[in-house]
Each structure stands twice: as structure tokens, then as C-alpha cells.
């Protein structure tokens, strides 16, 4: 049986929601990339909490590490600030 998410799960979901919204509205693309990393690690922790360890592993690898690197590189290539 999968345990209910509980207080920690709800807290993680709230962190994900706040981080995702803040990343949408960030004017600085580096801040947006960092917030997306926060979102990814919270999501990975939540996946692990509900028992999807493989998914959590993938999310931590791809979302937390690799996407952040690629986003920062892409920001280098274009520009840092949104008008």
C-alpha cells in the first residue's frame, strides 16, 4: 500500500507549486533555471515519498542536474534578462 503523502508530501507539493510559479514570472533566466532545479528536487523527493523510486532517480538526474546545466548554457547563448 502506498502511504498517504502526509505533511511532508503536502509541503513538497507546495514547494513545487511556488517554485514553478516563481520560475514562470522570474525576469532573470538564471533565477528561473535555479527555481526549476528546486522544483525538480522537490518533485524527486515527492516521487520517492510515494514509492516511485525509479522515477525519483530519473527526475533527480535529469531535472535537477542536467536540465539546469542546459538551461544555464542556453541562457549564456541568448541573454540573461527578459525585457
Amino acid at each position: 500500500m502506498i502511504p498517504p503523502p502526509g505533511v511532508i508530501g503536502v509541503g513538497l507539493l507546495a514547494v513545487m507549486l511556488v517554485a514553478a510559479t516563481a520560475a514562470l514570472f522570474a525576469r532573470d533566466l538564471l533565477v528561473a533555471a535555479a527555481l526549476f532545479g528546486v522544483f525538480s528536487f522537490a518533485a524527486a523527493t515527492w516521487f520517492a515519498l510515494v514509492g516511485a523510486v525509479d522515477v525519483a532517480f530519473t527526475e533527480a538526474c535529469v531535472g535537477g542536474a542536467l536540465s539546469t546545466i542546459l538551461f544555464v548554457s542556453a541562457a549564456h547563448r541568448t541573454r540573461r534578462w527578459l525585457d
Binding site: 500500500m1 525509479d54 542536474a65 547563448r77 540573461r80
Partner: protein, 274 residues
Amino acid sequence: MSPAPGKTRLRHGVPRILGALAFAALLGGLVAGIRDLPRLGDPASPAATHVSPRFIEAAARETGAANMVTAVLADYRGYDTLGETAVIFAAGLGCLIILALAAADRRETPPPGLTHRFGSPILDVSARVLTPWILMFALYVLIHGHVSPGGGFQGGVLFGSGLVVVRLVRGRRGPAFGPGPRAALVLACAGVLAFLGIGFLAMAFGGEFLDYGTLPLGGDEAHVRELATLGVEAAVFAAVAGTVCVLFATISAGVRETEAARSAGSASPPGSDG
């Protein structure tokens, strides 16, 4: 009629309202649809009553993989995984094509707001210490995917990330480590082709596409499937690791390293005493 500089036309007027309406309609539909979903982890949901018991009961016996996720991803649902691998490979190719075309008429001014400067003994030593462990852990994740979380995809991402870390620390002009962009592209192609090849090999020996049971690897069927699953995971590993390297190489190729950066930043930075 060209848009004003710094603003796209989509920010104002009818398209924006239409976009907002479409988004609201989609969001409303999705939220309304949530009510019809089975509860999270409901044992009486359709997926849990028909498909899951079969996998839970038979996966270890039929495929030799104690980690059910690996059994499902690489064996029962091998076709899905083939599609995913092809999508990731296509993403790498798309990045390569678009950015290589953009590099042909690259601006000579660096993009505003960011400069990229390399060079620090501390970073170099840390990368030297950590990278072998990262790469070894990637291989462990690949090989150990049968019994613990992980598999080709995660291992490939880790391996690619380990190589990317060295690039990040040393810069493009630093000593080369790992495959260059061309070798990485070849690696990614080889991974996708190896996956397809294993699938067609199963057909050649009288089975269905990606149905590994008929491969002449010796031993009983579960053992054969275990070996074939490892082969498929290794193919995914190569495809993903190669694609990661290609993605990073193409995306970071436009980052300019300034003259000051190449002299390893011994000069005093501007504005540091403000």
C-alpha cells in the same frame, strides 16, 4: 508591420485573449477530469486490477529482473522505451541542426549579461576526484538496474553528466576528456541502432519484434531475457549518454570565452572594489 523592439505582438490584443481563454478551457477540463480519476494508489482501479497483478506475479520469473520497473520498461514495454530513446535522440539531432545553422552566422558580440570564464585549481582537483566516481556509479546503475532502481536511462544521464562536469570545469579550450561532439553523436546513433538491432534480431530468430525470448544466448528463457534486457539497457545508456554530450556541446558552443578568461582570471575583476 513589424513588432516593436523588445516586444512580441502576442503580448497584446486578440491572440493573447484567445490564448488565455484556451488555457482556461484546458485547465477547467483537466480539473474536471481529476474527479473521474481513480484515487492515488487505489487497489481497485483498473490498472491495479488487470495489468499490475500480472506483472507483479510473473515479472521476476519471466524476465529474470528483480526490479519490476526494469522488467516492464525494457521487456514488456520495450517498444515504449524504443520510442522514448528515439525521441531523446531526435531532440539531440534537432538541437544539433538548429544550433549548428545558427552558429554559421554567429554574432560577433557576446550576449549581454553573462560572461563565461574558466579556470580554478580547486574546481579542477574536485572534478578529478569526483568524476571517476560519477562515471563508475553510472555504470553501476546500468548494470545493477535488474535488482535496484536505475537502468540504462539514468545511467546514461549520469555518465553524460559526469563528462559534462569536466567540460564545465575546464572549458572547451581545456584538455579534452571524453568523446568530442562527433564521437558522442556516433555513440548516440550506435545506441539507437543497437536497440533496433536487438529487436530485429529477435524477429530473425522467429520471435516478435523486441520479444527477446527466442534469442540464441543459451540457458532458459528467463536468463536469455535477462541478458537481452541488459543489452537493451546498454543501448539506451549509449544513446542517452551520447545525446547528453551532443546537447551540451551544441548548446554551449556559442558561449564565448573572453581573452581575460583564457588567462585564468588572474587579473583584477572590474568593479570588485565598488
